[in-house]
Symmetry: C2
Subunit: 342 residues, 2 copies
């Protein structure tokens, strides 16, 4: 039996607290954008100045609408859950609605919430906490097909590209599943594996559990993490590559970045070609046939002319489709994926 990964029951209520700006509401926006069909409504406290574009709901209205899970769609500075939010979250839990959070502070460590959840029979789901019983990686080849996004750095569009590619495959009526490896991705997908929170020995095993055996024509589109050249997080990246045993990778990059984000002064951005080469070398440990089918670049800091020139040059150099997933879309990545793997 496959390992149970973190899992959320829809429909969702997006709990936005009293957050003041969209910069702290990225999780809520991500869910509203990518999983709108699961979002029944939102709950905002006095002072909240963001809008997820779904109906405002009280606890009673959420119950009437059949909401199963309230998701904290906000990342407050510091990662702690503000005390002012507790009465509302406790009311939801007492009404039997599960509460899910990706914050550093654990819901399960807040006695008031634990008691309310016990009364209502609700679950408190900390999506940063990996499931118990993850095995070490086996390296065994699994059935089905897999594509993994890899990056030149953190925050270069690995999640966005995977979500967009998954959406494009589904649009083409291809059997595909988005496999989330980070907290926001897990909230969007409703399930996944918080790969960076797993104990080091089990990274590859966790990645294997996340994308189990599947139908021969099924694609897992796996959200990448970190970068093989990242001074802090490369271990997560390598274990994820090995455990995913991808048939294909898509390289993600930010055209405007010259240094590793947050490590300025010592770590220049690596060359795209070098990252592709290293990622393929790593991937071929567990899947000798892995290929890189395209490059997905955030060009938001370039104007249209500069973007087109940049992508054309990149494509000349690497001879695979190079796109901006927002400005241009990932259609050509999907084409290349389906052509090269068949």
């Amino acid at each position: 039996m496959p390992l149970t990964t973190v899992s959320l029951d829809p429909p969702y209520l997006l709990f936005m607290g009293d957050v003041g700006d969209d910069g702290h509401a990225k999780t809520g926006h991500g869910i509203a954008d990518w999983a709108s069909e699961k979002c029944a409504g939102q709950m905002r406290l006095a002072g909240c100045r963001v809008d997820m574009g779904v109906p405002e709901m009280t606890v009673e209205e959420a119950c009437a609408a059949g909401v199963r899970t309230a998701i904290v769609g906000v990342a407050p500075t510091g990662g702690q859950l503000p005390a002012a939010w507790l009465p509302s979250l406790s009311d939801l839990a007492r009404a039997g609605i599960h509460i899910a959070s990706g914050l550093h502070s654990k819901l399960s460590a807040i006695p008031e919430l634990v008691e309310a959840a016990a009364v209502g029979g609700a679950r408190l789901i900390d999506v940063r906490v990996p499931p118990a019983g993850i095995p070490v990686g086996s390296g065994r080849r699994r059935s089905g097909r897999r594509v993994l996004t890899v990056g030149t750095d953190c925050a270069v569009g690995k999640k966005y590209t995977a979500l967009a590619l998954h959406r494009e495959l589904r649009r083409r009526r291809i059997n595909a599943t988005f496999r989330a490896t980070g907290q926001t991705g897990i909230m969007i997908a409703g399930q996944g594996m918080p790969i960076d929170a797993v104990v080091a020995d089990f990274i590859a095993g966790a990645a294997e559990a996340l994308s189990p055996d599947n139908a021969d024509d099924h694609w897992d589109v796996i959200e990448g993490q970190g970068s093989l050249m990242h001074p802090s997080y490369a271990g997560v990246t390598l274990g994820l590559i090995h455990g995913s045993q991808p048939d294909a990778i898509v390289l993600c990059h930010d055209a405007g970045r010259t240094e590793i984000l947050g490590y300025e002064g010592n770590f220049p951005m690596p060359e795209i070609g070098e990252v592709i080469a290293q990622a393929l070398t790593a991937a071929r440990v567990t899947n000798p046939d892995c290929v890189c089918v395209g490059i997905s670049v955030n060009t938001s800091r370039l104007d249209a002319d500069a973007r087109n020139g940049y992508l054309r040059n990149l494509e000349d150099e690497h001879e695979i489709p190079c796109v901006d997933p927002i400005a241009i879309g990932v259609g050509r990545l999907a084409d290349a994926l389906l052509e090269s793997i068949g």
Copy 2:
């Protein structure tokens, strides 16, 4: 202030339980071989058929000899502490002697031991449990020098080679510290970091904490883990390489092995030159000057003629000293290390 790593107070009493053969007593033998100056005695229960070559002691004798820590020097099949050992371990703890174990089952989860330790004011030290508060890696260059053993696989002599190299450097009156990353190494050194038990995001940070800033002429000799090509554990290896920011690596290999241990059928042993190349590429992310100074090979399955031929061929191919650390010793590795780094 540097992070406190796992730490054991000498002198030690080697607790061998009722173990029947040396195969299950490797930890005890390792401590007796490499940290004999810290071993005051041993305690063996009825039926025990191994001998660590140090005085047999009762609880009272251990107290009189000033023993600070009793180390479980045995790895019973299954990794659980046998119930028959508990009365003796409890007596030791009640007498104020700390108990240290590297077993999968936690000492701190055994109520009888916890109670005895509270009575005696003893610590229960599970060396597989990493310290709290490990930061993410910073990539900041640290003062002092570092050499890390890397391998073509698990169990190819990375710990042995590091210990032997450390001993050789100390024999030459060079300022050096063995930095342990696995349970047996930690028991031998009396301190260290169980790197494979750290949460994935913190592997590099844990390695950084293990080998902090030091005197310019001081060498940290760091015990490697796993292999970059290992289908289960490569994430640990990569994070350890990045966080160690080694000036030099020593490649470790087993001449008799044709496939990754425990993964036979799918994972042939990688080429030594390829492993060196990948390890240097990884190491140069955080230390652009890293070099490979030698190769350490377990040739125990070869006779003397075959060994000499094997090492000569390897040395011709890679143009760095190639030794068997047991049959030949690591003197030439130390020479190369000191020559190349100065």
